[in-house]
């Protein structure tokens, strides 16, 4: 039986598993003010704009490159234990990712300076970002255990997870240098509400034949988990003051950090444009409520070992407790409240675009003077009905950079409607078709974007889903 569900519910369900997402549809969609957020150097023609509070930009993303909700939870009559073993435990590897990002603009606006070549933008957003990789050997240890696995080496480095909940304040400057080049930069102030990271783990656990006893259990561990803010949130939750604590930590009461975004748009010719941006080059200094947990050392255990001749004078001692003490001394579990620095997941975008077709607003169906650069003080930069091009996206991850390639086609229907279709290839999917729509009705701007549309016939079976939508009020400084 197939049930039609609301797209939104499925999207929310998928975002339960979650990091920073590729916003390939929004990128270089310069009719939308929020495109400034992923390229501060985008060409803008607004006199000013104001995002509707809490609705100017909401985006979510959930993805796993190798498993879907449907794989495990489909009501197909198959025992979940069989599905879990055949579709997760025996299939997933430490390279497989389970990640999520949710980002919500609560304040977003911009205005043009007295110098018409300069546009300022500002705002704030909340971002929850989590990435984890399938901890394969930990999963086997938890699900099967280590019995009858003599010689098998369980890799403790399989545990890599990182996440944060951060409030970000930003202020950006976008400047048109000349008719061909626009550059931009944005400073960011991070106020971290919570942070956790365990991405530098190493070591192994192995059972081998013992020298004296039947089995020797060898542990080599170098494990580290860093957290910040979690204790404050837990204590506040116990006191029914969680909301107050989150607000307090979001408004500079948490850990602070700095970052910068930079970007540019450059016209190689009248119809060919290249763009690029580098986002979230920054760090957060975690102090005050930071706590780290570590397990580091080597040991080999063959149980309680008693050589009666050697221990004849001390046979009354507590051999069990001595063994426990020896292990704890060799592989100490320690906590530390020292501060630490975390780096933001830096993202890189680049694109090349070719415009073709009739110019919009010059023989097209445009009915107002609002093409890109129209308020820029320089020569007008003509927009065309059609654009086609390619985009590159990269993000740094605990297991190295992750990349996505996007081809896109964009169609402008007057100044009212612009549509952008994308095809993206990345580790999550090779059938990711997305569609974005920007609607300009007078000063009201509404946009809606969704990814991986081919999966919507069974949204639960998709490995990846993302959405973005927003509402703005825009002025070009002249009547439309």
């Amino acid at each position: 039986m197939r049930l039609c569900h609301c797209f939104f519910i499925a999207g929310v369900l998928l975002t339960l598993s979650l990091t920073a997402q590729n916003k390939q549809i929004l990128y270089d969609f310069n009719e939308i003010p929020q495109s400034l957020s992923i390229n501060p150097g985008v060409e803008s023609d607004f006199k000013w704009y104001a995002g509707v509070p809490l609705l100017s930009g909401i985006s979510g993303y959930g993805g796993s490159n190798a498993i879907s909700v449907n794989d495990i939870f489909a009501n197909d009559g198959i025992d979940i234990n069989i599905k879990f073993r055949e579709r997760a435990l025996d299939v997933l590897t430490p390279k497989d990712e389970l990640s999520t990002t949710i980002q919500m603009d609560y304040l977003n606006g911009g205005f043009r300076s007295e110098n018409p070549n300069v546009f300022y933008s500002f705002g704030g957003y909340l971002e929850f970002d989590n990435i984890g990789y399938w901890p394969q050997d930990y999963a086997y240890l938890l699900y099967d255990g280590n019995a009858d696995q003599l010689g098998r080496r369980y890799d403790l480095g399989d545990l890599k997870v990182r996440g944060s909940l951060v409030n970000v304040f930003h202020f950006g400057i976008n400047k048109k240098i000349d008719r061909n080049l626009t550059i931009g930069a944005r400073g960011k102030l991070y106020s971290a509400i919570a942070d956790y990271s365990s991405s530098t783990n190493n070591g192994h656990l192995t059972n081998v034949e013992g020298q004296n006893n039947l089995i020797a259990s060898n542990l080599n561990a170098d494990l580290l988990l860093r957290t910040s803010g979690l204790r404050s949130l837990r204590d506040a939750n116990n006191d029914d003051a969680l909301a107050n604590e989150i607000v307090s930590r979001a408004l500079f009461g948490g850990d602070l950090g700095l970052g910068v975004d930079v970007g540019f748009t450059y016209h190689l010719s009248e119809r060919t444009t290249v763009t690029g941006s580098l986002l979230d080059v920054g760090f957060i200094y975690h102090s005050g409520d930071s706590k780290s947990y570590s397990l580091k050392g080597n040991t080999s255990v063959e149980g309680i070992e008693i050589d009666v001749l050697d221990n004849f004078a001390s046979l009354d001692r507590d051999f069990w407790q001595d063994l426990v003490d020896e292990i704890e001394e060799a592989v100490p579990f320690e906590t530390d409240t020292g501060s630490y620095i975390s780096f933001r997941p830096t993202k890189l975008y680049a694109s090349i675009r070719n415009d073709f077709g009739e110019p919009v607003g010059n023989g097209g169906s445009q009915s107002c003077d609002c093409t890109a650069g129209s308020s820029g003080g320089g020569e007008l930069r003509t927009k065309y009905r059609n654009s086609v091009g390619g985009q590159l996206y990269m993000i740094n991850r605990p297991r190295g950079p992750q990349m996505a390639l996007t081809g896109f086609y964009m169609r402008r229907i007057g100044n009212v409607l612009a549509l952008k279709g994308t095809y993206t290839v990345d580790k999550f999917s090779s059938t990711n078709v997305g569609l974005g729509m920007n609607l300009q009705a007078g000063p009201v701007n509404f946009y809606l974007m969704a990814d991986n549309l081919l999966s919507y016939n069974n949204i639960a079976a998709t490995n990846y889903a993302s959405f973005q939508f927003g509402l703005n009020i825009i002025s070009w400084g002249r009547n439309k």
């Binding site: 495990i72 009501n75 255990g145 006893n213 149980g303 309680i304 009666v308 069990w320 069974n458 949204i459």
Partner: protein
Amino acid sequence: MKGVRILVMVLVGLLLVTSCSEEQDFDQIDDLAITPSYETSIFYVKAQETLINRVEGLSFFTQDFNFDAFEEPFFAERVLAGVLTYELENTTSKPIEIRLEFLDEAENVLDTEVFSMDAAPTAILQRDVAYGTTGKSLDIIKATSEIRLTAINLGDNSSSSTLPDPAIVLRSSAQFTLDIR
């Protein structure tokens, strides 16, 4: 604005019509059984023949050892079944009897395992003792707080084995299945 409303309704309607999902049953998570089996060595005891020869009387060694591993709440509350594997090797010139007694905190004897071995040369004695539905009661394991080891010399106190490093050696390991959820 009317046009906007119409277009938004059309788009949302399109998504509602086209976005479907096969029926999901998230209650299946309750049926997920995580019952791993873990294996490790328990204890190793070695008594040399020179020592046995020095002790007069039948019992040359008796000792109670604290053993809290099975009492740990994480283990005791989750254990479903288990097997203790013993391996006894006698390279001495004497027949030996080893008696293992499992004691609770009040030192009541919960269970006893007795191993008898002929004098060397003799084969290694191996014994698996199951606990749980197919073996002895798991309550023995869960309540064990101490292990009493008694070694009895059933031979003389003067002979010596010609084998290198003659001794009686008891090796053991445990394999237990736990119910994690």
